[in-house]
Assembly symmetry: C2
Homo-oligomer: 160 residues x 2
């Protein structure tokens, strides 16, 4: 992401919002439990009915244990295709805090029903007792629309 940040416009907002709405998976960065080192792993990505980005994770996984200790995280979405230079494909880095939504919590079942529409294969494990949702409360977003097309967005630019 070049430092030459462009002024945020409606095209940038729509591009970022579209990346969130169409994401099926992404890369999650956390502070690793125990070491505090940066650690990045793959996670599924969907949205809440209100459009907030969310993932479904196992409590047994490294990233979940990390987020339980330190909710600061970052989520990269926007996947390149198989062709062309991957760095010309738009992508969005969300700077966020993780908020857990577990079995029994208000809105968990509504979120599960919504999530299954975009992730039908997750029905195999969505109700496992160790699985929970993590909602991403976005503080800031870095949008890279390709070389020299960098923007810094706030939650309001994403409709959050």
């Amino acid at each position: 992401m070049p430092e030459l940040i462009q002024p945020t416009d409606d095209d940038a907002r729509a591009l970022a919002r579209g990346l969130i709405d169409t994401a099926r998976f992404g890369a999650l960065a956390v502070h690793e439990a125990g070491t505090g080192l940066p650690m990045v792993t793959r996670v599924a990505v969907g949205t809440t009915p209100e459009g907030q980005p969310v993932t479904l994770v196992s409590g047994l996984s490294h990233h979940t244990k990390a987020l339980e200790l330190d909710t600061a995280c970052s989520l990269l979405i926007g996947e390149p295709g198989d062709k062309g230079d991957p760095l010309t494909h738009p992508r969005l880095t969300l700077m966020a805090k993780a908020r857990f939504l577990r079995h029994g919590d208000t809105d968990r079942d509504a979120l599960a029903a919504h999530y299954l529409q975009s992730h039908p294969k997750s029905k195999l494990y969505i109700d496992f007792p160790d699985f929970c949702f993590v909602k991403f409360e976005v503080d800031k977003a870095y949008l890279n629309g390709g070389f020299a097309r960098a923007f810094v967005l706030g939650p309001q630019d994403l409709g959050l």
Copy 2:
């Protein structure tokens, strides 16, 4: 990555090595400059002639500035296809330290020639003065071969 780590075997080593050898891009986690927060961005990924993972970055980018202040980083490689559950696709999390290789450094030109073979489109910017290589010196790797197929590998398992 479930905590139920399996014993490392040659299949796991070959899978991990194959993910490194075929990666064209990945997700890089760093401590953001200024805030220290986890930040994940997309980077191109190739290898040195010796098989060490490497990226080519602009000195103007957020992640490069972050690595100049703190070399601790993590690289996720192994991209899901367009179909199926992305979480069943194998992926590799490298826990690493960044080592810069800049214009004029020994081996930079040999690396550039090697890198261009796998990333021909980078010839448009590889010689820009602000671009440099970052080699990943791997301390540890977390291999996830799909549900319940988790391994922890050392550099020697990756031929590094």
